[in-house]
Amino acid sequence: MGGHLARGSHAASSVTSELTLRFERGTLVIDGPWGDEVPGVLWDPRSSSRRSAAHRFGALVTAASLRGATITGDLRSGWAPAPRSARDLGLRPYQSQALAAWAAFEQRGVIVLPTGAGKTRVAIAAILNVGVPAAVLCPTRALAAAWKVELERWVGAPIGLIGDGHRLVERVTVLTFESAYRHMDTLGDRFGLIVVDEVHHFGGGVRAEALEASAAIARLGLTATAPPRTSEAAAAIEELVGPVVFEMGFADLVGTHLADVTLTRIAVRLEPDEREAYERGVRRHDELARAFRRAYPGGDYASLVRAVAGTSDGRRALRNNAQALELAAFPRAKRRLVGELLSRHVGDKSIVFTAYAENAYQLALDNLVPVITGETGVRERQYILDQFSKGTLRTIASARVLNEGIDVPDARVAIIVAGTQGKREHVQRIGRVLRPAPGKHALVYELVTAETTDARRAHTRGMNAPRSSTQFPSARG
């Protein structure tokens, strides 16, 4: 055994230690006298060759340099760096710290900053400093368009865009998660750096291929809400992007780098007919849920749904329950209250967040205010955001589209009609009004339907969410 090892280390210093790599459809085909010990390298009987997913390129480079081995077909030769100063960006101190932390972790890691704290600026500084061809991945087409505009402003060169009908690759290229999922296997050898906006989306393993198929060694993830450190989601993100290298919460920034904020929760009641419909809708579901918990104490909701969905009675119960929840999310009292709040804040820029797109359209019709949902076209969305920015439009109704993103102009009032996505959504929505301005004091109204699941959801999502930075005496309810 010892002799074998000695031969191995001898070989490492000779030319036979050379490793040849070839990028093939999001994978690396590996040829050489070693490589099997690098995690993720497998023998592929389909092609009679060793193969790894492309994101292992960094690990292979490290292994090769430890052996003093040369790499033929080194993808880095296509990524000649042209680093530039990011001084013009005028980073705030905590943004510079975040960037330095990421660099110290060998340019692999996640930066956690609240919405409004300028994650985009940090990423653009990273792109300029590293200076290699870069891909920016983001969840939606709306965000991709916004990234392109912002990058054009600072990079000073044409910016590529893949998705939404565009297929243009430039030195810096923006892709939606969906287009990265589809096309990274043909483009994955072109980028030395990938920036992943809203990186928490990759915690569940969905569309992980978008990141696996890229050979980029430098990886930067951005999010306002990283998954808990010991969770599976955190491990998945660490594997594909890197560990959390810098984290700052609302509390660290509110009042200094973020605006002061007051949160007001307003409880409303169902009217008698609504109450009756609600109770009828949830009854069978609640019975089944109680029976399930007796039989499987500690069973989670997903297994309850799986168990219940097996019978037509169970499916009907789930359907009726879902309808009851929709009712509780938007009863007549909330609908009226939104109108009152909007007329109270007629001079303020306000964003109204609903749980369901239909509710946003209803509020738009009631109050004659523009609405942005997944159905809204690019041109109209940009028009609304521009007018809102200028102040010629002062209210936007939205379901989920404005939850996250860099392109939403500053607002002072957020009216949270209801949510379905829990804590993360809640934090992001509040972040929408936190961009600082001289003398600004932001207001967040959260409407909650008493004695329904709507109230329980509000309670859960409020845990660990931002609190009012100062006490404000106007709460009612």
Binding site: T20, R22, E24, R25, G26, T27, V29, D31, G40, L42, D44, P45, R46, S47, S48, S49, R51, S52, A53, T72, G73, Y181, R182, D185, T186, E209, E212, A213, R306, V346, Y361, A364, L365, N367, L368, V369, P370, E375, G377, E380, Y383, Q387, T392, L393, R394
Partner: protein, 390 residues
């Protein structure tokens, strides 16, 4: 594409699943759907959906078909319909005007002013404000209504493909046209392996990343293979699919009621091959590139060379390899030595790794295969083979 919630299938023993096909038994309720749809022209998409639920579902249920099948069929049929926006003024223009006017005005004032500016009654404004939403658009029927049988076949194909979209590996048994499977796989970036047996060829298709974990990334490409497969005789297929996060095996065969009119996918002519065919013809050396399907059996595995050079003197197989590693080449050469087939492998020298010293049967090229060098190599191979057998 059918959404997850519209997939209708039956579980067999183990984790095997088969699609719930529509057959002649379903024609009664399909006829009802076709009849109802005649009245859908000019109605909104949402209203049509509601009508399908109200009028067709109860009858379908009497014939043993569930809500998923009914909504699935209507989803497939509705793709043939067009939609138009029923509004005299484009809704986006109405919204710009109304929402702009509503800043600093009461609702009735804003509607009155908008009504003057747009020349629409206030009630029309409210109706047209969101008339361009998908569900409020008005349906325009296709040229001719389908027959119930056509509807069933189209739905069956959509259902099978939707399930295959969730696959990460497909194993197909084919009796003929295995070569088309090669072309298809190459064109779509899939990896294919072949094994021959008494009844034909077993083709295994999967994507490069499937080596590392179950991935449905290649589902679209794998599903696209089905129409071509379904026109071959006595085919069968077993696909590993993910449904609700769990692994299942989808089994399909030639008894499935699928349309059989689909054209085979074109084989992927490469530029190198086209240019080479022209160059060889120009040489007038008596050699030609043959297009017939050649298959080489190596043990139980099959090998499909890119093309065949034919002359009065004999046949030589030609494989063009853009990328290669010495290991790949050694494997291929060894396999083919075992069957003693004359073969020339053309390798792209830009991607050549390691020792490129001239070897029998290996020809380096850059951008374009040199036709005369290839012919010379073929002559030499045949000469060597003749010498060996003499």
């Amino acid at each position: 594409m059918l959404q997850d919630r519209l997939l209708s299938f039956r579980r067999l023993e183990g984790d095997r699943v088969v699609p719930t096909w529509l057959t002649s038994r379903d024609e009664v309720w399909l006829r009802v759907l076709v009849d109802e749809a005649e009245a859908f022209a000019g109605r909104s998409a949402d209203a049509a959906d509601d009508r399908v639920r109200e009028a067709v579902m109860p009858i379908a249920r009497l014939h043993g078909a569930g809500a998923r099948a009914v909504l699935g069929v209507w989803c497939v049929e509705r793709r043939r319909w067009k939609k138009r926006v029923a509004s005299k003024v484009p809704p986006e223009q109405i919204r710009r005007t109304v929402f702009g006017l509503a800043v600093g005005r009461s609702r009735p004032e804003a509607l009155d002013e908008a009504s003057r500016q747009l020349g629409l009654a206030p009630a029309d404004i409210e109706d047209s404000l969101f008339a361009d939403r998908e569900g409020t658009r008005v349906l325009v029927p296709p040229g001719s209504p389908p027959t119930p049988a056509e509807l069933a076949l189209r739905y069956n194909l959509a259902l099978a493909q939707a399930m295959l979209m969730r696959s990460f590996e497909v194993v197909a048994q084919i009796r003929a046209n295995a070569r088309r499977a090669v072309g298809y796989a190459k064109l779509h970036g899939l990896m294919a392996t072949f094994e021959s047996h008494d009844q034909g060829t077993k083709v295994t298709l999967s994507g490069p990343l499937a080596l590392f974990h179950e991935t449905t990334k290649y589902g679209r490409a794998l599903a696209g293979f089905l129409p071509a497969l379904a026109v071959t005789p006595a085919w069968s297929l077993a696909a590993q699919i993910l449904l609700g996060g769990r692994r299942h095996e989808l089994v399909l065969d030639a008894t499935a009621p699928l349309p059989r009119t689909h054209a085979l996918p074109a084989s992927s002519d490469s530029g190198v091959e086209r240019r080479l065919a022209v160059d060889i013809r120009r040489l007038a050396s008596g050699w030609e590139l043959a297009r017939e399907d050649t298959v080489v059996r190596v043990g139980s595995r099959l090998f499909y060379p890119d093309f065949t050079l034919v002359s009065a003197r004999g046949r030589v197989l030609v494989e063009v390899v853009g990328y290669w590693t010495p290991e790949y080449l050694a494997n291929k050469a060894e396999a083919l030595r075992a069957v003693e087939v004359p073969l020339v492998v053309c390798v792209d020298e830009r991607h050549a790794r390691g020792d490129l010293s001239p070897r029998p049967g290996i020809l380096a090229y850059r951008g374009r295969v040199d036709a005369s060098a290839l012919v010379a190599e073929a002559e030499r191979m045949l000469g060597a083979a003749t010498a060996a057998s003499a």
